[in-house]
């Protein structure tokens, strides 16, 4: 059925959803993100339940540095914006722009990741090891899982860019793939907004 779309007059306006295969991927991915949301919600719940459980280890107040987290947030939010722009380019059938914007997204994402590793390294030096307390375990697990998602999202972007750099154009096959990767990236971004609020702001502001 994928060949039922006539591409002789150029790409349709929504190349990612033009074929049944594309539509299926689109829906399937949304459902997958629904599941991911619940999984993150569980980890958020765990963190909220255990954040007072610092035992003898350092507490959130003593550790968190808002400026650092603010920079990380900005990096990730900007990368989400460039990712949106990349998708606009895709719909305008501008392959080159899309690739450049995706590359910028990747660079910003790597920057975020660098800061996160630095952050964890710092906390470790302040005595917050993974096994220090229930608070430490739940913090590293939640934020670390998000970090793992960032790593996976970046690898996804990079793989796609390498894979299709030679294609030189947007097709009905690669459009859904880029679109889904971008969707995934937005999801990661939204999760971070919640982490920023629930983990950092609420831990410092509250209590």
């Amino acid at each position: 059925m994928s060949d039922s779309v006539d591409v002789s007059k150029g790409l349709p306006s929504n190349p990612e959803k033009a074929t049944l295969e594309g539509k299926n991927k689109f829906l399937g991915f949304w459902v997958f993100l629904g599941g991911e949301t619940i999984m993150f919600a569980t980890f958020f719940g765990t963190f909220l339940g255990l954040k007072e459980g610092t035992a003898a280890g350092p507490t959130a107040d003593e550790l968190f540095s808002l400026p650092l987290v603010f920079i990380m947030t900005m990096l990730l939010l900007t990368s989400s914006l460039t990712s949106v722009l990349a998708m606009f380019s895709m719909k305008k059938n501008n392959f080159k722009n899309m690739m450049i914007l995706t590359a910028i997204t990747v660079v910003l994402g790597l920057g975020f990741l660098g800061f996160e590793i630095y952050e964890f390294y710092e906390y470790l030096h302040h005595g917050l090891g993974y096994t220090t307390s229930a608070f430490a375990s739940s913090f590293y697990t939640l934020v670390g899982l998000h970090g793992a998602h960032v790593v996976f999202g970046l690898s996804w972007f990079i793989t796609l860019m390498i894979r299709y750099s030679r294609t030189g154009g947007i097709t009905l096959t690669n459009a859904p793939k880029f679109y889904l990767a971008s969707l995934y990236w937005h999801f990661i971004d939204v999760v971070w907004v919640f982490i920023f609020t629930v983990v950092y702001l609420m831990s410092i502001g509250g209590a």
């Binding site: 299926n24 399937g28 999984m39 765990t46 229930a134 608070f135």
Partner: protein, 625 residues
Amino acid sequence: MATATASMNNNKSVLWDWLTTVDHKKLAVLYLIAGTLFFVKAGVMALFMRIQLMSAENDFLTGQTFNEFITMHGTIMLFLAATPLIFAFMNFVIPLQIGARDVAFPFVNALGFWIFFFGGLLVSVSWFFGGAPDAGWTAYVPLSSGEYADLGLDFYVLGLQISGIGTLVSAINFIVTIINMRAPGMTMMRMPLFCWTGLVTSILIVFAFTPLAAGLALLMLDRIFGGQFFVPDSGGNAVLWQHIFWIFGHPEVYILVLPAFGIISEVIPAFSKKRLFGYTAMVFATLIIAFLSFMVWVHHMFTVGIGPITNSVFAIATMAIGIPTGIKIFNWLFTMWGGKLTFNTAMLCASSFVPTFVLGGVTGVMLAMVPIDYLYHDTYFVVAHFHYIVVGGIVLGLLAGTYYWYPKMFGHKLNEKLGILMFWLFYIGFHLTFFIQHILGLIGMPRRVFTYLDGQGMETMNLVSTIGAFLMGAGVVVLVINIVYSAFTSERVAVRDPWDARTLEWSTTTPVPEYNFAQTPQVRSLDPWFYEKIHGDGLMKSAEPMDEIHMPNGSILPFMIGLGLFIWGFGMIMLNMENPIMPPAIVIGVGFVVTFGSMLVRSIKEDHGYHIPLDKVKKIEKEVS
């Protein structure tokens, strides 16, 4: 089109064909076989447990072995037997019932099966590495933590984690299939109820298996990497696990029982010659049950001491589930009312499901009464209650489905005489085993005990229960004999529709060609096949001219990804072994490379499938009809 017919002509071995298949009908058979094997395995464990409990202070099994059996029995039955058996029918029937050529993602479908299978295998090999998990299928911490449980729990955690991924991707696949792949005219409110329950179950899986995955991850981190989530001394909380587990665990019951409802809602109308009474109400009842199933998890934790307010709220929510369930019960009764009932094995199982399920349902409402649950909780009363749901509900549903769809799946019917013998053995055995357990619970027998002391008035009832269990076992043996016997003696079903049924799967030829429908059917009503038989010319109208048909290629990658995850999981477990044969990091690395390597191959190598040319389609159609 360039890769046309490549895999049509290959003459590779049968084994290779099954390992690489992405055909939903073959995957259904794989699910059926895997599920049955696990079912028999867990059933034998149940028999061993019943032998142990046959008399007071018996020493057939030690407490440790008994605990391993209860854990494996529960874990296998729910995750590795009931789930795949339900997936077998969903895989086979749903695409046919909605008039689709295959599921939305045939590759992912195969992936789901193999990941599930290897996850199940990982749980099962625990016996060879120092013993199976022993903390119950609920694996409450701290009993399941590194301090109190051995390696078996690592197999539990990682095996379920992996098989859960398989279940999850399959569920996503079904959701997309049902929403996007319906034939023209097959609106949502014309879908057979089995498709509806399949859809709702899949949605429940997406929202329930993910908390489980998170919970298992926490337990794994605690056990292998020194996490402190459940360690009270480090600020952790042992009750947290119970919350996460039951947020998954309660919907899990509905994940299994809703498709059974679906099967019953197919079989009863078919053999009553009547459309399902109150179809719309049935659909909405299903949706309400699914919604409520996420609101009641605390009723598994009434005795944890959460407080009277929470307990009361969850008690009311739990009772509320009785209402939509009641609607379903009465709708089934009134489907039969005024019909022309034929009692073959499928209908015997389906109709007896109704009163049996009511018995399980009323004890469910009784359990919702918090103060009285303080008595029932964790006793044999609860054991009896949930076996009435899972055996009297799910297993009867699955048996009905087996006898009903068998001719479509395998081209011949199962022997009726043996079928009826099986039914009565199983059904009587079931009531003997479980009814009396209600009373055992009330006179003071806690669940999960490996023995009981003499002189507490429990001997006779336990003996009766054991006898019943052996009758059920005999019933299953008769079923297996029936399958083998029928394979050799039953005549091939030559017609499309041996039961004179109502839904679209019976409009295809038997055996079903790999593309299901040569032409996508045009659906004009609920029960479309019945409609065409009465109002049309007895065949489905087609929605498209006959043309070449696009088919997906088979692939070994799903198998490889499953295998990779198995190796990875085993490597993770080796981290907790005292003397691993080789460094665990190597095993983890190999698993990682196999899994992600296969995924990379999949994403880089474009696979557009192949086309069955028109003349070949015509030839096949002529042959079968």
